[in-house]
């Protein structure tokens, strides 16, 4: 919008932006600053203790669990991206093809897990994964494959198993967003490519993906940050265990606050999570800036 228009409609612009800014500022920004503030103190959640400066942060980075938590969080986040954006784009593209019958049905069905409560989903998958009588191991027994795992008790399988459940649960939503982005691509592009003799796969990689890039970028950021903030599924399925095998940053934060009653420490972890996520978002947005002006 050029500056003349801007000046003329200044009042409108401010009016438009105001509600969101005010609500957001009061509810999120101020408490966030308070959290950063508290992270420099020893705080039991009720009364502020002594000032520690970077004490809580030093405690965090020298703790026993930080390495495992960080690695787990990264693995988890990457898994989410690969599964949700990968399958999401695949299905979104597939289901926009008119040749596929029942596309609407599939789209609706894939979204169902998103609607279910996370406690139900977690409980079900706990049983599917059970080492003795779980569905997976029963199936492998049926197929005579000697591959039954003690899914939730071992080091990497437990982390991946939980990541799988969260990915599976949320895929439908990512798919929907990407679908909206793909549908927004004017049909002409695809038609022109077809006339030029492009195959479905070629169309996918050379037209769909680039033009849906802003949307895909959003979903990548969402998945990555969800990975770093993951809590409910992990908490319900393993509680971070066994031991610290499925620990992540948010579980550490929850434990700091509820288990160790060390809210200052917990606030420091929370601040750390925020910094990571904001940093990620900033980095990704900067790296992919060229996709912003796609329609201009």
């Amino acid at each position: 919008m050029n500056s003349a228009l801007l000046k003329k409609n200044r009042k409108w612009l401010i009016l438009f932006a105001a509600p969101a800014v005010i609500i957001f500022g009061i509810i999120i920004i101020i408490p966030l600053f308070q959290t950063f503030y508290y992270s420099t103190f020893e705080w039991n959640g009720i009364k502020l203790g002594e000032f520690l400066g970077t004490g809580n942060y030093r405690k965090l980075f020298s703790s026993r669990e930080i390495n495992t938590s960080l690695i787990n969080s990264i693995v988890y986040a990457v898994f989410l991206v690969i599964y949700q954006v990968g399958l999401g784009t695949f299905f979104a593209f597939l289901l926009t093809q008119s040749k596929i019958r029942g596309a609407v049905f599939f789209r609706n069905v894939y979204f169902v897990p998103v609607l279910l409560s996370v406690s139900v989903v977690s409980q079900l998958w706990i049983w599917i994964y059970n080492g003795d009588y779980g569905l997976i191991n029963q199936l492998t027994k049926l197929l005579q494959i000697d591959w039954s795992q003690n899914w939730l008790n071992q080091k990497w399988t437990s982390l991946l198993a939980v990541a799988f459940v969260e990915s599976w649960k949320g895929m439908g939503y990512i798919m929907l967003i990407i679908y909206a982005g793909v549908r927004n691509i004017p049909e002409v592009y695809h038609e022109a490519a077809s006339i030029d003799g492009a195959s479905a796969v070629q169309k996918f990689f050379h037209i769909t993906v680039p033009l849906a890039a802003p949307t895909i970028r959003i979903t990548v950021v969402m998945c990555l940050t969800n990975g770093f903030r993951a809590f409910d599924t992990t908490y319900l399925m393993t509680g971070g265990g066994p031991g610290i095998y499925t620990y992540n940053l948010t579980i550490m934060m929850y434990q700091a606050m509820m288990g160790r009653n060390d809210y200052g420490y917990g606030s420091a972890i929370a601040a750390f999570i925020v910094v990571i996520c904001v940093g990620l978002m900033y980095v990704i947005n900067t790296l992919t800036k060229r996709y912003d002006k796609i329609y201009d």
Binding site: G45, I46, R64, N153, G241, G243, M258, G259, R260, N261
Partner: protein
């Protein structure tokens, strides 16, 4: 430490002096010991009360509410059910000054902070005047536990403490030709038999963190530390001490025998006891509140508990029998808000709270369950429950279920390490000890 020792001794003395309630022909409700001496009949308020309000506690509380509202027609109650076991809700309310009139404090750090801030009303006077603790057979011990370092009581309560045991299914055992173990060797044998029969020997609901750790604590009690892991929590012992290493060896040993099913870490409480009910599992670890569940489910005569500490060697089993897992009387129980939101003055609220508590305990007795209210109650319980009732007075020392321990860092470290044992990741006792020791305990 000294105070706790005193409390423990008094508990022992009082318990020995407990008169078993006479089994009357029919349960007779005791008369109202309070009258209108402390609170006038026309007291007008709506009391908000926050405590565990489900299962049999709900029945007992509803009974108390009925009694109170009959007595004080303008009184009403708003009950808030306690859904967490770590004090989350309480913490946040405390931080913003939104505490109810009467509340259960289930986190010791919250209690400490509230006490120091002066948010808890001192109930010394109300307790004295009503003679509340004299109404209970274990009253003196309970009162002793409630007295803080500064000599005042910031909370009240007198309940039958819940001790921890392993329950087992008598039918399952009979079918397999085994019987209740009284020592460690027998316990190991039963585990092997159960395992070979394709059952899960010990159904541990390790989806929660405390069962595994408490089981380890039980082993340490058997090895000669009467309060189990409490000693390490309180800083009076180190996890590297001999007794804990020996306890760890036994704990890990049964893990290696396959005592815990593969799904232990994701088994929840209901699932675990259902497994025992149906014969899929042999043992179930829980606390004495489980007797009430058994009664409600009609399983009172099919399920019994192990009277002896299953980890104890034959030579010492009699000595350690009366060192209980659980049953520790915390200083915090039910407290009164120093500025009650209902508008009454805290003294009145305290009197009402004491009376309400009294009636909930009476209700337990009237319903045929165990209670320490002095009176004629018709106890109706299965064999195991009656057994427990008889033996209740003999316990000498008590400990915490590990979830209630005060040192959060220690609990987290111990929980994580014990999980590794239950999940089969640690197969050597030294791994367990090293893990906890690395946390500085």
């Amino acid at each position: 430490m000294k105070k706790r020792l005193l409390a423990v001794m008094m508990a022992g003395v009082m318990a020995l002096g407990t008169a078993l309630p006479v089994l009357a022909e029919e349960g007779t409700e005791p008369k109202d010991p309070f009258g209108y001496d402390y609170v006038s009949q026309d007291v007008d308020a709506d009391l908000t009360v926050y405590r565990y309000y489900a299962d049999s506690d709900k029945d007992n509380l509803d009974y108390a509410i009925r009694k109170m509202t009959e007595k004080y027609p303008n009184l009403s109650f708003t009950m808030e059910h306690r859904t967490d076991s770590d004090g989350v809700a309480l913490r946040t309310w405390a931080a913003v000054g939104e505490l109810p009139d009467i509340f259960e404090i289930n986190a010791s750090d919250v209690y400490q902070t509230l006490k120091e801030e002066g948010s808890l009303y001192v109930v010394d006077e109300e307790v004295e005047k009503t003679g509340f603790y004299d109404l209970f057979s274990n009253g003196a011990a309970a009162k002793e536990a409630r007295i803080s370092d500064d000599g005042h009581q910031y909370g009240f309560g007198c309940e039958v403490s819940n001790l921890g045991f392993l329950w087992y299914n008598k039918e399952t055992f009979e079918e397999l030709g085994i019987s209740e173990p009284t020592n460690y060797e027998e316990f190991k044998e039963t585990i092997t038999v159960l395992k070979e029969a394709g059952k899960v020997p010990v159904a541990l609901f390790a989806a929660e963190k405390w069962p595994a750790t408490s089981l380890y604590s039980l082993a340490c009690i058997a090895e000669g530390e009467p309060t189990g892991l409490d000693a390490v929590n309180d800083g009076n012992a180190a996890i590297t001490d001999e007794v804990f290493r020996k306890g760890a060896e036994k704990f890990v040993e049964i893990g290696n025998l396959g005592a815990f099913g593969k799904g232990a870490l994701s088994t929840n409480y209901q699932q675990a006891y259902e497994m025992m009910y149906s014969g899929e599992a042999g043992y179930f670890l829980s606390g004495a509140w489980f007797f009430l569940t058994l009664e409600a489910d009609g399983m009172g005569d099919k399920i019994d508990y192990c009277n002896y500490n299953v980890f104890a060697d034959e030579a010492v089993k009699e000595d350690v029998r009366w060192n209980a897992l659980g049953g520790y009387q915390t200083e915090a129980k039910y407290s009164v808000n120093v500025e009650p939101p209902c508008g009454l003055d805290p003294s009145t609220v305290a009197y009402l709270g004491l009376e309400m508590e009294y009636w909930t305990r009476v209700s337990a007795g009237v319903n045929g369950n165990m209670t320490t209210v002095i009176g004629d109650f018709d106890f109706q319980g299965g064999e195991g429950y009656a057994d427990y009732y008889e033996n209740y007075g003999n316990y000498q020392t008590f400990s915490n279920f590990t979830g209630d321990l005060s040192n959060g860092d220690f609990v987290v470290a111990a929980d994580n390490a014990c999980e590794m044992v239950v999940s089969g990741n640690y197969t050597d006792a030294q791994e367990l000890i090293d893990d906890i020791a690395a946390g500085g305990f």
